[in-house]
Symmetry: C2
Subunit: 181 residues, 2 copies
DNA sequence: CTTTACATGTAAGACGTTACATGATTAA
DNA sequence: TTAATCATGTAACGTCTTACATGTAAAG
C-alpha cells in the first residue's frame, strides 16, 4: 500500500465543488466539511502548488473588479483520474479518534464525583452546540442548495454527524445520572 | 492557556493504574484505551524520560527472575498534583475527528452508487468488528476486574464507544438503503 | 480612517508514526 | 534452534497548526 495523503485528495475533491482558489477552499472546509475534516492555510497553499507540480491541476492568475487578484486552480484530466481512483479505493482502517474527556474519565476515581459531572456537563454543552450547528447547515443546504449536484451527499455526511453526536449527548445525560448515585 | 501535552497526562494517569514500565503502559493502551487514545513506543519512552526530568516521576531499575530487566516508574507527589490539576481543568474544544469515509462520500456524485454502497459496506464491517471488540473488553472487565478501583470508569468509557459506534452502524444501514433507490 | 472581507503565502515547531536496532528469556 | 514474549530505545520522516508577513478593496 502506498501512503496516501488524504488532505491532497480533499483539495482535489474540493476543486470539483465550485471552489477554485485557496481562499474559497478554506471557506468551504470551515463551512461544510468542518465536522469531519479540517485544513489550515498552511496546508492548502503548499498543496495547491504541489498539485500543479504533479500535473493534477493548472493555475491561472485572474483579476477581479472590486476584489484583489486571485489564483484559480482547475483539475487536469490526470487530476480527475487521480480523484476517481482514490474514490474507488476502499478506506483503510478506522483511525482512533482521540477523546480527551474519555481520557480524563478513565482516571476519574482520583476525582470527586461532582467535578467529573461538571466535566461531562461542559462536554454536553459543546456537543449540543455542535448539534445545533449541524441543524443550521442542514437547513441552509435544504433551502438554498438543492440545485447543487453534491447536496444529497452533503446531507448524508451531516446525518452521520447528527446521529453520532446525538448518541454522545444521550451518553452524557445517562452517565451524569449514574454518577449522581 | 498554556499548551497541554495530553499524551504526557495519559502516561501520568496510566502510572496510577498498576502500570509502571513503558512496556506495560503500551499493553494497557492497546488493550483498554484503544478506542479513544493511542500511543506508540516512540512517544512513550521519551515521555517517561521527560517525566523524570521534570520531577513528576522517579525511575528504578529492577531485575526480574525469568524476564529481562525493566525500569519501573512511580509518580512523585508533584506528579500526583500535576495529574490532579489536569483532571480538574475542563477540556478544551472538541477536536474535529477526521473521517475518510465521509470525505469520500462528500465527493461521491462522481462515483457510481454501487461503488459508494461498497465503501459503506466496508466501513460497516469495520464498525461491527469494533463493536464486538468493545463487548469483549466489557465482558473481561465485568468478569475479572470488578475488584479494580478503576473499573466503573472503564465501563463508562466503553459505553461511550458502544453507543456512538452503534449510531454509526445504523447510519451505514440506513444510508445504504437510501442509495439503493 | 478604520474595520472587515478578500487573498496568498512561509517558517518554526509540535506531535506522532514507522522502521530500525538491540537484547533477555522461555517454550515448543 | 526458532519463535514468541518481554523489554528499551532512537532517527527519519510525515503531518499539521500557529504565528507571522503582506497586500487589495469595499463599506461604514
Amino acid at each position: 500500500m502506498t501512503k496516501e495523503n488524504h488532505t491532497k485528495y480533499a483539495i482535489l475533491g474540493l476543486l470539483t465543488t465550485g471552489c477554485h482558489s485557496g481562499y474559497s477552499i478554506k471557506q468551504m472546509i470551515d463551512g461544510s466539511l468542518n465536522h469531519f475534516w479540517k485544513i489550515s492555510y498552511g496546508q492548502i497553499y503548499p498543496t495547491l502548488k504541489q498539485l500543479v507540480e504533479e500535473g493534477l491541476a493548472t493555475v491561472k492568475d485572474t483579476t477581479q473588479t472590486g476584489k484583489p487578484n486571485k489564483k484559480e486552480y482547475y483539475l487536469t484530466s490526470d487530476g480527475k483520474t487521480a480523484l476517481q481512483s482514490w474514490l474507488n479505493n476502499p478506506i483503510e482502517a478506522i483511525p482512533t479518534e482521540k477523546n480527551e474527556l474519555l481520557l480524563k474519565l478513565f482516571f476519574s476515581r482520583h476525582q470527586h464525583a461532582d467535578i467529573t459531572i461538571n466535566q461531562i456537563d461542559h462536554y454536553l454543552n459543546q456537543l449540543t452546540e455542535r448539534y445545533h450547528t449541524y441543524l443550521s447547515i442542514e437547513q441552509l443546504i435544504t433551502e438554498n442548495l438543492l440545485d447543487q449536484a453534491d447536496s444529497p451527499f452533503w446531507l448524508i455526511t451531516l446525518d452521520y454527524g447528527k446521529r453520532t453526536t446525538k448518541a454522545a449527548i444521550e451518553w452524557c445525560e445517562d452517565t451524569q445520572e449514574k454518577l449522581k448515585e
